[in-house]
């Protein structure tokens, strides 16, 4: 689309219309930009969160470099980011399956069933999963016992892992052993089908014209080939957006870890992530200045990953 040049005089002719965006802009500045700029400012202070602040230059950033807990938390969050990327697959698969349902009525009902769980607040879901992980009365251990899958885990532990966390007659401490923390965090949300993600992919799939499918049929593509060569490339825009949001959300997020593991990241600190460490430093220890510095570091990381995503995850137009 050709770019249209508009003269400043013409742009300002209906200047009063710009006043309509002032309230929204003011709110964005006050509630989004101001806190971020304030965090940047306060990262150079020894700040206890109230009125007590003393300028200390780059001391907080120097301290970041030798903070072993912080760097270990980046390793943990890196694992979770990679796992979450793989966890995008079920949503894409379900979207494709729903899209291929021939009956419009059934497609509609599948979408409704998918959306209904969205009304359950996220916090409730977290609490329910916390109950799932309970070693004595949790559903997860009960299912493993009833299905006999626990014996598989015991054999796997005994022969391969050597952890000793899966034992006969002993409830599995999903959130009570550091070696099981990351697997539990990855397992959380099974079967990893996010309604919003599915709907976004579905919208992308439904914008694919039927002539593309007809052409694929003519070329003799099977179902899997249609997905790989037709559908997946044509929903890359949605995949890319979701990937960016997923990476940002995972890097920033700590609510899951806080609720399931507490503010020290659980046994062994195995579930400590940068966001939780930042929360710890700010609201428990009272080192708000240092927490702001962690926030700035996190921002730089996210910016870097977003740049990489934009550069290398190409949308083939």
């Amino acid at each position: 689309m050709a770019r249209i040049r508009v003269s400043p005089r013409k742009a300002l002719h209906e200047w009063k219309l710009y006043l309509f965006i002032v309230p929204s802009l003011a709110m964005i500045v006050v509630f989004s930009y101001y806190p971020a700029l304030s965090a940047m400012f306060h990262s150079f202070f020894d700040w206890t969160g109230g009125d007590n602040k003393q300028f200390i230059g780059a001391a907080n950033f120097r301290r970041l470099l030798s903070d072993g807990v912080l760097w270990q938390s980046f390793v943990t969050i890196g694992i979770l980011v990679v796992a979450n990327i793989f966890k995008m697959v079920p949503s894409i698969a379900l979207a494709v399956l729903v899209h291929r349902v021939k009956s419009d009525k059934w497609q509609y009902w599948y979408r409704v069933f998918l959306v209904i769980p969205m009304i359950v607040p996220g916090l409730v879901t977290l609490f329910i999963w916390k109950f799932f992980f309970d070693p004595t009365s949790g559903l997860l251990n009960a299912v493993l016992d009833v299905t006999g899958f626990k014996s598989v885990l015991i054999a796997f532990d005994r022969d391969l892992l050597g952890w000793g966390v899966f034992q006969e007659g002993v409830p599995i401490p999903w959130l009570g052993d550091p070696r099981l923390i990351i697997p539990s965090l990855i397992l959380w949300g099974f079967p990893w089908i996010g309604a919003v993600g599915v709907l976004i992919y579905l919208a992308g799939l439904q914008s694919i014209g039927t002539e593309v499918y007809e052409a694929a049929d003519i070329d003799g593509a099977n179902a899997l080939q249609k997905f790989w060569y037709v559908e997946f490339p044509l929903i890359m825009t949605q995949v890319r957006i979701n990937l960016i949001l997923l990476v940002i959300g995972t890097l920033q997020g700590f609510g899951l870890q806080l609720l399931l593991l507490g503010n020290s990241g659980g046994p062994g600190g195995a579930g400590m992530v940068p966001g939780l460490w930042m929360f710890n430093k700010a609201f428990l220890v009272g080192e708000f200045g240092y927490a702001c510095a962690i926030g700035i570091l996190l921002f730089v990381f996210i910016l870097g990953l977003t740049f990489i995503n934009n550069k290398y995850v190409r949308v083939d137009k």
């Binding site: 020894d46 992980f133 309970d134 004595t136 401490p173 009570g176 052993d177 062994g268 600190g269």
Partner: protein
Amino acid sequence: MKVRVTREGVFNTIGVGLLVLCFVVALARVMFRAQRESDPGLVTLRFAHWQLEGGVRDAMDVLSREYEQLRAAEGVRVRVEQMAVPERVYPNWVITQLVGGTEPDLIQLGMGTSDERIARYFEPLTRLVDEPNAFNRGTPLEGRRWRETFIDGLESPLSYNPALLEYYGIPLSLHTIRIFYNVPLYRKIAGETPTPTDYNQFLQLCRRVREYGEANRRALVPVAGSKYNAPYLMGALYGSQTQRLMLESDRAHQLRTDDSIRGLAYLDGRWDFDHPAVRSGLALMREVAREMQPGFLQVAREDATVQFVQGRSLMIATGSWDASSFRVQADFEIGVFELPLPTREHPVYGQFVLGPVSEAGTGTGLTFGLTRNSANREEAIRFLQYLGSLPASRRFAEVSGWLPAVVGVDLPPQVRPFQPLTDGYPPGFNIATPATLEAMRAYDRHFYLLLQGADASAFVEAMKRDYPGAVLQDLWASDRGRLRAVQRNDTTAAALSQIGRASRDAEHERKQAELTESQFGLELGIEQARWRLEQLGHPPARP
């Protein structure tokens, strides 16, 4: 020029008009602090707190109504309104109310009330607490200075603010830790056997619970544990083993220890994780952990409560603040007994025990402050005096099931078991306290190792690795806190000195004397800690 009125234009004008109108109304409310419409002869008092426990709200309601009746009999019409605000939002709510000028007359202190806010928005009660409380007339406390009628002498930090050198809060309650148990289930298991008074009896009871559970094919756990509840019992047991060690580490002849002394003593090598008393404490903790449900570490307070009130555990360790909640939730009679600590006569653990632990010095809470902007200052003071009187405290204890903060209250039967036991010895120290954040984090991170393996060796090795660094960080944090206080006090001291020079005022002289004393104490603490750290080869402050 002719104005062409269109339908769209009219609707737009109406929209803008509504917006402006709403703004003007909101502005008027903020500027003039709109008061609720009321009878001009009726005095409305409001007080706010975050204690949503049913018993407490009921008690405050009852006291409010009784106060209204009392004043009505004196010809004054008063209405008292209670504002119970959820704990999570309380700090933000308080700050908003104070800054916006819409605060209630009395506010519970402790959350959202920093020293600066207290100075700006709350009225000092020093003169008031030095006088007798009129509502104690006709009681054994008549004629005594009001502050002497409280269990702690109003020396808790929420009552007396050491930075501002004034009394700001009147407490209504205090708490102790006990074991709660399921009485009918206890009778089935142990018959008429009295409740345990020491550790051995407690272990025997736990064994009997397990046997009962197995015999009746019932999943029954002796003690409901959680990461919230377990530390109360385990910490007390550990502390019983470090009583003598605490005295040995006390080089300052204070017969007690604090976080800094404990930390420096560790760095100085006066105790470590191989010390027999520490190992004994850890062994005790392992033993009692076996009496809790598997995986209790990952379980929250609510889960342990459910476990107990659903009868899946016989006992639970928690504070007296949970008593009223348990009574509401459980459909069985609840009993209470003291924490079962080893005595000096115990063959294994007795050697480290000094004696029974004293609960004297337990701090008070549910502390209310008077806001400066109270529109009904005199009435609010009177209500505060009423709340902090002997008759009202008795009523409070009856209805809430909580301990009152006033001395000499004839406690109702359900509250008596929580009364602090004052005849005992100072407790030993724990590995970490909530104030030593890094040590606590190290402890939390490695605690799971204590419950694994044949003994506490894995936990000890992990703590030996992380504890010294954590202790150092906590000492630095404590040093920074003292330093900030010293800095702040310099301005306050200069101010008091200038005020005193202009007019010899007893009040200012008292404050100046207290501040000077406090300031030197802080400076001494800073210099001693730094010197000691340097002696031990550590940086005196965070590099």
